[in-house]
Symmetry: C2
Subunit: 459 residues, 2 copies
């Protein structure tokens, strides 16, 4: 452990030093680095795929022994479909995005020749912890470099051979630029992660991408701010005034478009007035799509009342339990609950959802407005599928992840979630500027606070 | 402890419920609440000042016994100078500030009749922990209410009698509005704070205002995000090209304008080429203002070389130690260090400053630019006193505090540090909107991502 500690300190110090050194390098060099990374990955392709084969073979042994799921194994495979190409294209795409640094969000003339600018800048050193998929190494490295942050990456041990070669290619590419090659570092063990979580003097933000328990475990063990990407427990609420066609489309898409995604709906909330009208029709469509329904007593009774019309009732419809409404199914299963009013639905969502994305299907703007104000989630949608909650669909060009926290960044996070800001105050007066000249009384100056119209500064 | 826990849970639950209920109330009601609070405080003035006298008498006993400092006692006194009046005026001023919620920071047309808005909204429940000054109860309550957040407040035990009556007045004012009176609650004990720090399902942000050790202790004991207000270890760097007049004015103001403030300079960094020119003149002026200097060997030798001109050399100039550069003096003491270059000065600042505010005195824009890029602090100033780092001076109208973190809010924090945002997605299409209609292939739609020009939405 002592050696893990000293190794972690060396990694963290090198990351901070690389970050600080990079601040004096123009951002064009970071774009150049991304193009170098793409080239380096292309030329190391064979070697990387050999390592990937090795990871896959080791994983197959685990799957055969029943210690790993087949789904996890599939995620490791870099040769699957267009994964390799889209990984490379991702680097080029990130390189082409607008620079998130140097953007002015507040500018004020405090006095003649004294100007204040609040300018976006990188956060510093990121510690990113993620699961199996090895291409995440390249995605995250690209995002960190583009936004000017140094990063320490810890992937799943299942993909360690692949990840090691991907990191090697990245470091080799960086060594062809002015950016220190320690700007992006990979670590292999949990012990190193534990040691790094104690180093808040070097590491500025931890980004865990994985389960709720991973995020909570990290939050429990560090002073460093955590931008968590955890569960998505999304719901669709069918309001009293819901339109059947919209209800059918939005519920089906939210549940079945991609059930394993965090923005898929896990819970359907039905206004009690719809139990014998819209609800049976929606249930029929869900059953036709092979969805399993976990229903509360009223919604179950409503379906039982029309049982001859529902051949799948016995195989696909079951009573819910309280835990149904706290489960992220990530499969073709949907929990269903009846509520007597919009307000009750909002209270239910705030108590049970993971504050990710929740949707109302309604025909009245009053209900829409009440829902959007009252539901305390990163996304509050009206007549639109929860599946729209995504950085690409939102137009960010890329996605760092979907934050389930509400501090700093909330919901789908684009590159601007990886920057903070600093205040630059510049006096151009012959004598500089001092606070003692301002205040109340004879000869004292007053602050002007005139807005300066500027969207970016180069410095 | 068990009863503290259940009491804390009750407080936290009530706060969350109050927050959620308040989301359905128009923001004008929050402004009304602030005016009610002012009226209630005015009518309870006598009673509050009696309690304040009680706190002061108890504190005097502690001071006499040597268990409390006289400075702390003075901070308790609500009758001192115009403290009472300015507390009331503060409430009115906050009421008059622009609403920080409902502001659109991103709006995009994703498709015909499908519009996405990123809208500022309150964070939720704040837990604010602060020191002795009782009027902070009223300041924080006003800021929380204006920004739409519920708050749980814990002040110093020295002012508990006063704080209790101030809270009572606030709750009584709230009961005259539609806002639940549990929107602002005060707690008294550290045990309650400890219990609350475990309740991340109810509390969304902890704001400790106090010492570094308070902030670190809280960060060590909670999963809840922390917006810390800790030490200010600010520095002024005299660049090779520094102008004497600017150096004199900026250094003197940074050190002596208000030495107990977190934005006062604690360290002076002198380029070695100035050791026998500008440095002795600056030292002379500092000594004339009764400043104690803790000098490294070269800066000390430079002063010793002109000792006849410095009558205070023996009483006011001392050798520094490594810890001098890690000390927030908060008094008329200044640590001085010589550096051979701008780059060395930047490295020194990044290693020793608290990343609060640092200033360069220089005549070249190249040095200014390098300094502002390279120094990793919330404020990087050019030829302007570090004392400008302040929410009022920056033009925010108020100040929640000065954040020494770099996530969410950095540097002086105005009301916008107390809001987050949510994404509202609204379909106005006859059939609603589903993700399955978008993508690549025949009949699939493409995302438009047209910018919508709007600065605020009401919903």
């Amino acid at each position: 452990m002592a050696s893990q500690n000293s190794q972690a300190i060396a990694v963290a110090k090198a990351a901070k030093a690389a970050f600080e050194a990079s601040q004096l390098i123009p951002s064009s060099e970071r774009v150049k680095a991304l193009h170098e990374i793409r080239r380096e990955l292309e030329s190391a392709k064979d070697e990387i795929l050999v390592a990937n084969r090795k990871d896959l073979e080791a994983a197959q042994v685990e799957v055969d022994a029943g210690r790993m799921s087949g789904t996890l194994l599939k995620r490791l495979d870099l040769t699957k479909a267009d994964k390799w190409e889209s990984m490379l294209q991702g680097v080029t795409d990130v390189a082409a995005l607008p620079d998130p640094t140097g953007i002015v969000s507040y500018a004020s003339e405090l006095d003649e020749e004294l100007e204040l600018y609040r300018v976006s800048c990188p956060i510093g050193v990121l510690l990113v912890i993620f699961e199996a998929r090895p291409e995440v190494v390249v995605n995250i490295a690209a995002l960190a470099i583009k936004s000017g942050n140094a990063a320490i990456l810890k992937g799943g041990k299942e993909s360690s051979a692949t990840a090691q070669l991907l990191s090697k290619a990245i470091q080799s590419a960086l060594s062809k630029t002015a950016i220190p090659s320690t700007y992006i570092q990979a670590i292999q063990t949990r012990a190193e992660v534990s040691a790094l979580l104690g180093l808040d003097q070097y590491i500025d933000l931890v980004i865990p991408r994985g389960s709720n328990s991973l995020v909570r475990n990290i939050q429990n063990n560090t002073r460093i701010p955590v931008m968590g990407h955890a569960d998505g427990l999304c719901s669709v609420y069918l309001d009293e005034t819901a339109n059947l066609r919209k209800a059918l489309r939005v519920v089906l898409d939210s549940k079945t478009d991609y059930p394993a995604a965090c923005n898929a709906a896990e819970t359907l909330i039905v206004h009690e007035s719809l139990l014998n009208s819209i609800w049976p029709a929606v249930a029929k469509a869900l059953l036709a799509s092979d969805v399993q329904l976990l229903c509360d007593a009223p919604s179950l009774a409503a379906l039982q009342a029309i049982s001859p019309a529902l051949p799948k009732l016995s195989t696909h419809v079951h009573p819910s339990t309280p835990s149904s409404y706290e489960t992220e199914h990530l499969s073709l299963t949907l929990s269903v609950i009846t509520q007597p009013s919009l307000t009750a639905a909002i209270t239910f969502i705030n108590a049970h959802s993971s504050h990710h994305t929740d949707c109302i299907v309604t025909e009245t703007s009053e209900s829409a407005s009440t829902f959007c104000r009252g539901v305390d989630s990163a996304g509050t949608f009206v007549n639109a599928s929860t599946r729209f909650a995504d950085g690409f669909r939102y137009g960010f060009g890329t996605e760092v992840g979907i934050s389930t926290g509400r501090i700093h960044a909330r919901g789908p996070v684009g590159l601007d979630g990886l920057v903070t800001y600093k205040y630059m105050l510049r006096s151009r007066a012959d004598e500089g500027h001092i606070v003692g000249e301002f205040g109340i009384g004879e000869g004292k100056k007053e602050y002007k606070h005139n807005k300066i119209d500027v969207s970016s500064v180069s410095f």
